[in-house]
Every structure is written in C-alpha cells, then in structure tokens.
Symmetry: C2
Subunit: 343 residues, 2 copies
C-alpha cells in the first residue's frame, strides 16, 4: 500500500477556476479530497449550470478527479489515486426562497453549503453587515432542518457572529467553518479581519463536534502577507490548545485563475455598484503557492511539536469524520419516517 | 364637469384576480386609481410575466382601465372616465439581489414596492419573523436610495417594526403603509394582529409626510368580521386625531377571485411546507363587499363628523399628494447628476 493509501489530506475550501493543470496540482499535493465552491451569488439556474460544467470536467479528467457524494466515494477515489471533489456553495443563494431546492441540490451532489456570503439573505446575515439578527425564524430554520435531514454540511465561514452561533445551536449535526482563522490569534490588522471568528464561536463549534478549517490566505492569516509556515503552524497549535485536536483542519481558500471582473463580482455581487471591500489581487505565500505544496504543512505542524496522529487529524482526518457524520443524512432521504430529532 | 371630474378616490391596495367585471366594479365605485399588486413572492422573471399579462389587459380593457406611471396619467384617466391602475409589488423579491432591477421595474411601470412580505429577505424583515434587525446595511439601504432616486413609493405594510421604522428614517421621500390599521385601536383579537402598526410607527410615518391606508379586511379591522362602517369610520377618526388628516387614506386589501392554492401560496411561499398562519377564506363586510361600494365610505366618514375637504383627502387626496411627491423621482432618472440629498 502506498503512502496515499493511508493518509487523508483534505482542503475544505478551494475556489480555483478548473483546469487540467490545477487538477494535476491536486494530485501532486496528494489531496484526498477538496471542497470545491461552485456557487457564490448564483441563483438556482446558474448554480445548475456550474454543476453541469463540473460534471463535464469529471468525465474529461476522470484520471485525476472524481465527484464525491459520500465518504465511500472519497475513499474509493483515494484507492485509485484520484482526488475526490466535494461540490459546495459559499451562499444559500441557489436555494432562493424555496425549501425544496435544498433536496434538489443534494440530489445533484452538493454536500457543503455556507448559509450566507458576507451580506443578509433569506437565511441569515453575513459578516459584512453591521447588524445580524441571526438565523431567520422561518426560512432559515427550515433550511437548517432540511440540510440536516438530507445530509449537507452547514458551513458558517462568511456568516455574521449571531447567525454563526445560532446555526451551530440549531443544527443537529456538526457545523463547519471551512475557511477562517481565530480572530484573537490573528488580530485586527489583516484586510479581512471581519472574516475571522471569535473564541466564543470557535468554542461553540467544537462543543457541538464541528471543525474549523484554518487558512493561509494572506488577508486573513497571522501577519498577513508575511505569514510564515511556522507562524501558520503556531496558529494551528493555538487553536488545538483551545478546542482540541479533533476540531481543527485546513481550508486554504485557494482561488487561482479568475479574472479581475470575477473577483470584483465576489465582493460586490449585484447588490451594490461599488465593492464594499476594495482588494487588490494577492498571491498565496511562497511556502504554499498552490495546492501542489499541500504536504509541506506536515513539516510545519511537526515543527511546532505535533505528533503523527495529530497531524493526520489536522491534515484531513477531522474533515473526513465530519463528512461521515453529515453526508449520510437521516433515514428521511431514503423515504423512511423523519428522525425523532427532526420532527 | 361631472362629480368624477373633481373627486379623487384612491384605494391603495387591491390584489384581485383581474376580470372585466372587476374593472367595471372599479368604475361603479368611481375609483380614480388603485395600487394593484402584481408580485408577492415572484422573482424578476415571474414578475415580468405578470406585468406583461397586465399590459395585455390594459389594451383589451382600455375603455375601463389605464396603466399609470405618473400623477398626470392618473388625472388623464380621470378626465376620460377610466380608472388608473398603478402597478405595485408586495415584496422586494422581484429585485432579487440585484440593485439594477429597481430601475428595470421602474421602467416597466412599477411605482409602489413593499420592501418585505411577512418574512426575512435581502432587504429587511417581515412582520411574521420573531426578530427584525431592520433594513440590511448593504443591499437594503441601496434599494431605498435607488427607489428614492427613480421614483418608487416605499411601502412597509407587511414589514417588521424595526424594518418599518428604519425605512421611514432612511427614505428621503414619504413612505407608505398602503394597507394596515393602528394596532392600539384594533387590539390583538384579530387574526392578523401582527400586521397592524404601532402608534410609534404611525407617528414616525406621518412626521416624514407618509400616509397609512386603513383597511376593512376582517382579519385586521376593528371587531374583525363584525366591523361596521361606523366602527371603521371611528378608526379613521382615531387615526386622524393622532397624526392629522393629511396622513390617512384607504387601502382595502380587496383580493377576490383567487384559488385556495394561490391564497395558500401567499401565506407559505416556497420557504415552508406548512402555512405559518392558517386562515380560511373570508369575505369583506356587507357594507363594502367589492370596490363598487367604495363611495359608501364617504357617508361613513361624514357620519363621524368629517367635513367635505377632510373626506376628500382621506378618500384619495392624500395618496395623490404622496404619489406626486414620489413618482417623479429625482433628476437622476433623466440622466442628470444625482440630487444632493442622494449623494
């Protein structure tokens, strides 16, 4: 059995424009699985088109990547030396205001959905809003129940504080922060300080079995563009010290190959004519310029004293556990009566 | 000059399924203008289809009804013995998350838009939600600015309290409650008590030049199904006493001809599988079964002591004033620089 036969490397947020050379980077980086964003402001129709485009890519590049709906799919991809791609949304926008669309997108293979992207939507509030009344009492709660039932991982990375805390409290299953850092470690001198998460949030997430994916994205990382591998590893150690090694993973936020217009659209959507956050293009640190260098994290983690088993959990084992606890959904999806907890 | 040549009767909320006989009722009722709802949960495409259907109706029944974009259009309709129909939305849903769609729908003739319908959306919160964080700081404020600029009347009838108060405070132009009643007069024994408005809201609306349209809809009216014309007139008098005769109008909420399925959809949208409010069909009071009886209100108002000039304001003059202060928009819409107030 090769090294890849036992290790689990998962990057729980990537948003690169797909090309064959980037799929090759995933293999070079020995990535078992990634969470690939396929919608950010899209409505249902546009999200379906994006999923359709990815389904073509899965056919064309089936020597490198595999669409994964279950943990079994991920393990099967690993066994054949390919990277499992879990489709995810960074916004509830494809659900529009229609509770039935949760199941529709689950059927299409979407397994990880961030509830809000920076601003208010029907479900809750985003981290750019000045106020956050939490998960909306009608549609928001229904979406969480439905995601629990069908088996979609709830991601709260870009949600506001109250929306994040309420999603954690309301969900029957563990919740993910796929890509953000602890605010109290990083401080407020980075570009996107509002994107990082309070100790209170991280504690609550871990108490309910969730995982936070830490990112070396320079706008959120400690020391910003100057973040070294050892400094990143110190942040991992700080977070593990706080909430336990079972609750920390990696979510790089890699997003290469997009045009200026696309990146402006991410920041502005259609809800404004001016970007709320003015950001110039930024590259990832030289110790992790692309996912091909993902295994370098192992050395960084060893350098701050983590042992082999701990490194395995952080590099992917924790995400695999959360996926297993989530993607199965409840018996409801197979047509059986609702779980007591969901009634 | 006929009686209709000088009087102004405006019903600032109707939502009936359009038929020729209902257009004839408008003429029998000598209605100068109505605010006709053409979207409630619709997205942009569905709202465009509804407007298209109405445009066909304007052609087919141009002896009875006229599409009105301006106060001049309303006065021209009156001069030719026809009823002006102002197209309105009861939800910001057709704007989706796209600020440019405000101008698109203005171009299509929509002049009155309620920001939220019962539940949370991108703009703000509805009166069925248990919490309300107000107008969202990014998209919500942009929509209000844009509506002010192009000349759309902001309606807050179904909005939550905080969303209502903030819309009133943020808008440069008067805001409307097209159809609701004072909660402190009606009390909490009616089916839809949460739809009525606090004294604080009504005071704030009037202070900024707005108008509240009072409704005899039995679920919101004083004494519910037992509401008499004189009791309704007492509510008008109570409201006038509180905020002044310039700030009170009529918004009946007439909505005949819809199927059970359609009415269920109004209550449930697509955001839930069960209606939050279970309501059986209800008919309007026998003194006002259809808009054909609209002139009967004059007698009711005279019966509680209103004078002729006051009755004219309540029956439509106040709405015409607010329309004049709103529908013109700012010079921006004609391509000139933004008004100082909008910058």
């Amino acid at each position: 059995m090769t090294e890849q036969g036992t290790e689990v490397f998962i990057d729980c947020l990537q948003f690169s424009n797909p090309t064959r050379s980037r799929f090759e980077d995933l293999r070079t980086g020995r990535l078992t699985a990634i969470n690939q964003t396929v919608a950010i402001w899209e409505d249902s129709r546009a999200a379906i088109a994006n999923i359709g485009a990815w389904d073509r890519l899965f056919e064309q590049h089936n020597d490198l990547i595999v669409k994964a709906r279950t943990v079994d799919d991920i393990l099967a991809a690993r066994a054949t030396g390919r990277t499992a791609v879990v489709l995810g949304f960074q916004n509830g926008s494809p659900f529009e205001d229609d509770i039935d669309l949760v199941r529709t997108f689950h059927d299409l293979g979407v397994r990880i959905v961030q509830l809000t992207y920076n601003v208010q939507n029907h479900i809750g509030s985003g981290c750019f809003e000045s106020r956050d009344s939490g998960i909306s009492s009608l549609f928001g709660r229904s979406v969480i129940n439905e995601m629990n039932e069908v088996g979609m991982l709830i991601d709260v990375s870009h949600c506001g504080e109250r929306t994040t805390l309420e999603a954690i409290a309301l969900s029957e299953r563990p919740v993910a922060i796929t890509h953000a850092n602890p605010a109290s470690f990083v401080g407020d001198q980075v570009d996107l300080a509002m994107r990082n998460k309070s100790d209170h949030v991280i504690d609550a997430l871990a108490e309910r079995g969730g995982v936070i994916g830490l990112s070396m994205y320079p706008r959120m990382a400690p020391d910003g563009r100057a973040c070294t591998l050892s400094r990143f590893a110190e942040m991992v150690a700080w977070t593990v010290e706080r909430v336990g090694v079972e609750h920390v993973g990696i979510g790089s936020d890699f997003c290469a190959g997009h045009s200026d217009e696309t990146m402006l659209w991410w920041r502005t959507g259609r809800w404004s004519r001016e970007p709320v956050v003015q950001l110039d293009p930024v590259s990832f640190p030289d110790w992790m310029p692309t996912p091909a260098q993902f295994p370098a994290l192992q050395g960084g983690l060893a350098g701050v004293g983590f042992e082999s088993e701990e490194i395995s959990l952080i590099m992917g084992g924790n995400w695999l556990r959360v996926f297993a606890e989530t993607f199965g959904g409840s018996a409801v999806h197979a047509g059986a009566p609702a779980l007591a907890a969901d009634v």
